[in-house]
Amino acid sequence: MNLTSLVFLLFCIIALGIYFIVPKKFQWFILLISSIIFLFWNNLSVSTVIQALLVLLASYIFGILIDKYRDNTVKSKIFLVIGIAIILGQLICLKYTNLFSITINHILQLLHIDFQLGLSYFNSLVGISYYSLIMISYLVDIYRGACKSQKNIFKCALFMSYFPILTSGPFIRYNDIEKDLYGKHKFNYDSMCRGLVRTIWGVFKVLVISQRLGMFVDTVYGDLATYTGFYTVVAALFFPLQLYTNFSGSIDIIMGISEIIGIHLPENFTAPFFSKTLTEFWRNWHITLGAWLRDYIFYPLLKSNAMQNLTKKTKKIFGKKASKKISLYLSMLIMWTIIGAWHGGAYTFIIGSGLLQFLIMVLEDTLEPLSNKINNKLGIKKDVFSYKLYQIIRTYLLFSFTMIFFRASSVGNAVEIIKNMFVWNPWVLLDNKSIFTAGLDIQDFRVLIISLITLFAVDKLSRSGSVREKLFKQNIIFRWGMLYILIFAIIILGCYGVGYDPAAFIYRQF
């Protein structure tokens, strides 16, 4: 079910309507029913039911067992490991079997061995990557004593499958959401208004901006023989914006719906394109994924005995400071490889959203002293607008480069795109017509420019407080006027309906 489709709109109206009509003690049950319908919409089969039940039962049973044997470290650890192994095992089987098969096939080919592993085509449930990690964190949190296990299996199922977050996140923690999720909620007019405004803004981002950018990017990347040089450069620069507006727009829709219900979800984006370094960028981009990996992989890894031993051993050879960096970078490398792999079972994801991010961050860290030295020698001021702008643009360009791999169909395709960018044809930007042949005409570009200016203005304003709160403080004429403009911009300028693939969410497949 698409987040910007009429079907989803109707689904939400019915689900929320029933939610506020039924007695409050049954509200969570309505959410569960809605989530089950959403989960199996167009995807109901024996295989998908087994997938969902496997994760649910593993989380539920081992959650209770870990809780029960909290005082027995060995037993609780064993239950934790088994629980995680089951959840992770099904995720790997469903999403990464083909990656392993392709890798082994490549190796066999290199060794001239005439044997190839077949590829499997499992039909995995929507949101599998989200609910798998969410349930792993649930087990770990019980083990750590951060929360208690849920004794009601249906309530546990709701935590696993809460429908708004299944397509694009954000990652939720049991402890943070328990009260809201199972709590009794009275219909609140102000929450509804705030939730609706956020949802409408999200739909605007997806249908007016992201889909429009996608038309250009898809046209160029789909025909690299025709669209060379600056076409490819523009497409590469457009893609991060397409990804951002698609992903953050979906999150806005999800947060808005949840706000109407009375469930408060953690923020996932805080104007990432105003970041001055890639490290800062990732603190503002898909924040809940970063936090999840930091809390459940990076810190445990860094504090693990293996890493401590490594630090000790390398300390003798490279010194104290360098040895700490080695452990840090190794933990980062593992974490970023996992981030890359989480995005999809292909090397393009591992390189694009994993290894390249790691490499750039390491370079930022190691070259910072040198950069400071050069700046000091040349007398370059770092606290002025122009330097900050340079840093923002540099970060955007670096991220755009990494996303070439993320978007490409294969590593070879990514290399082809990069090579393609070096064809010298700047006139396609200047002759006033060529650029308008790649999926977007001049009117679309005008809409895009105005929309992007609006987007960045809102993002910039959001850094100094909630834009919605600022809007709600305005007079009714301005407030309603802005809302009508936004709604009709979506209705008229949105890329939906006949001739469009309505919002095939980029992050949905994860």
Partner: protein, 358 residues
């Protein structure tokens, strides 16, 4: 309570804006959209069919001559299966004394000939209602157009037809004054051209083209027979007064055979059919009176209108509204038509005019 009222006002304003925007975002107004502009129960006749209706019958000229009003509910290549639904729509707003149904489309096979636009021209112009939904379903459901029709684009997606705004919102790039003020090319649904194309029937110019599109239509298509039977049942059930016509046009031999079969069935059901191609006292000069291969120009259309309107006046009890203030728009539209087509006063044409009007 204050919040509820505020919400209602907000939604009301939203609906008003939306309704007006939907009306602007059209490809172009057609004859059916103009039908809705007529005051309730003001039409004496409803004329239903395809382009051979709105290009051939000049309803404002008929009004000027005899004072009765004719609503044109026609669209390009209007699929015959939709006739029943168009009649039903007409019954909701008007109580015409007579329906005229053009049966030219009965010779076309639905799943080979029609395109998405042929359905859209009818249902997109219709107001949102259960009848409209039924019309869409009737067109889509019995047919596997998705694979059979190369012109078919989104037929499997019923919702795109039901909510036509899903298609037309893209029109923002192509808005013109026509979207805001309506088309000035139509006179109460009648479309006219002064241009003349010379067709030599001996060389079977248009027949050949027709045969390419409909290579084997010599037998009355099974589906069309079902559509016709269904329509005749509907007419009997509603007890409506109907006249069927075969418009003047160049036909392939196959179409003639097909139409004759249809005429036979209609006559067996007790209805009258006028076949303009076999009338002894009516003839079209295909070298002068066509503006394209199959449609009459202003001369041919005037000739056709004069003949048919005279026939209608003589055979049916139709009122004369001339001089009635309530029908001033018909008078005004005739004046506009006369001013736009001054060619009608030419001497040689007047001879023909006199022949049919006396």
């Amino acid at each position: 309570m204050k919040k509820v009222i505020k919400s209602i006002i907000f939604l009301l304003i939203l609906c008003i804006f939306f309704y007006n925007i939907i009306n602007i975002f059209w490809l172009e107004k057609n004859s059916i959209s103009y039908f809705y502009e007529e005051p309730k129960n003001s039409l004496d006749i409803a004329y239903i069919g395809s382009s051979t209706v709105f290009c051939h019958f000049n309803s404002v000229l008929a009004y000027d001559l005899y004072g009765f009003t004719t609503g044109i509910l026609a669209s390009p290549a209007q699929p015959f299966i939709l006739t029943k639904y168009v009649m039903d729509e007409c019954e909701k707003y008007q109580k015409p004394k007579l329906y005229i149904i053009d049966i030219y489309q009965l010779a076309s096979e639905l799943n080979k000939y029609y395109e998405e636009v042929n359905l859209r021209d009818v249902t997109d112009a219709m107001k949102f209602s259960r009848n409209r939904t039924n019309a869409i379903k009737a067109f889509l459901e019995p047919l596997d157009l998705g694979e059979n029709n190369p012109n078919y684009k989104s037929g499997d997606n019923y919702i795109n037809y039901e909510f036509s705004f899903l298609l037309y919102h893209n029109m923002w790039k192509h808005l013109s004054n026509k979207n805001f003020v309506g088309s000035l090319d139509l006179y109460k649904g009648f479309l006219c051209s002064e241009e003349t194309v010379q067709i030599n029937p001996q060389k079977e110019y248009y027949w050949k083209e027709d045969l390419v599109k409909l290579p084997n239509v010599v037998e009355f298509p099974k589906e069309n027979k079902e559509f016709l039977d269904d329509l005749l049942n509907y007419i009997h059930e509603k007890n409506l007064n109907v006249l069927f016509v075969v418009p003047p046009r160049l036909y392939s031999e196959g179409r003639n055979i097909t139409l004759n079969q249809a005429i036979k069935i209609i006559k067996e059901n007790g209805f009258e059919v006028i076949n303009f191609n076999t009338l002894e006292d009516f003839d079209v000069d295909y070298s002068k009176e066509l503006f394209n291969g199959s449609h009459l120009n202003v001369y041919g259309a005037t000739k056709y209108t004069l003949y048919l309107s005279k026939y209608l006046k003589e055979h049916y009890d139709l009122p004369n509204h001339k001089g009635d203030e309530a029908y001033a728009s018909w008078e005004n539209e005739y004046v506009r038509f006369k001013n736009d087509f001054k060619v009608l006063t030419k001497k040689d044409f007047n001879k023909v005019l006199n022949k049919y009007s006396n």
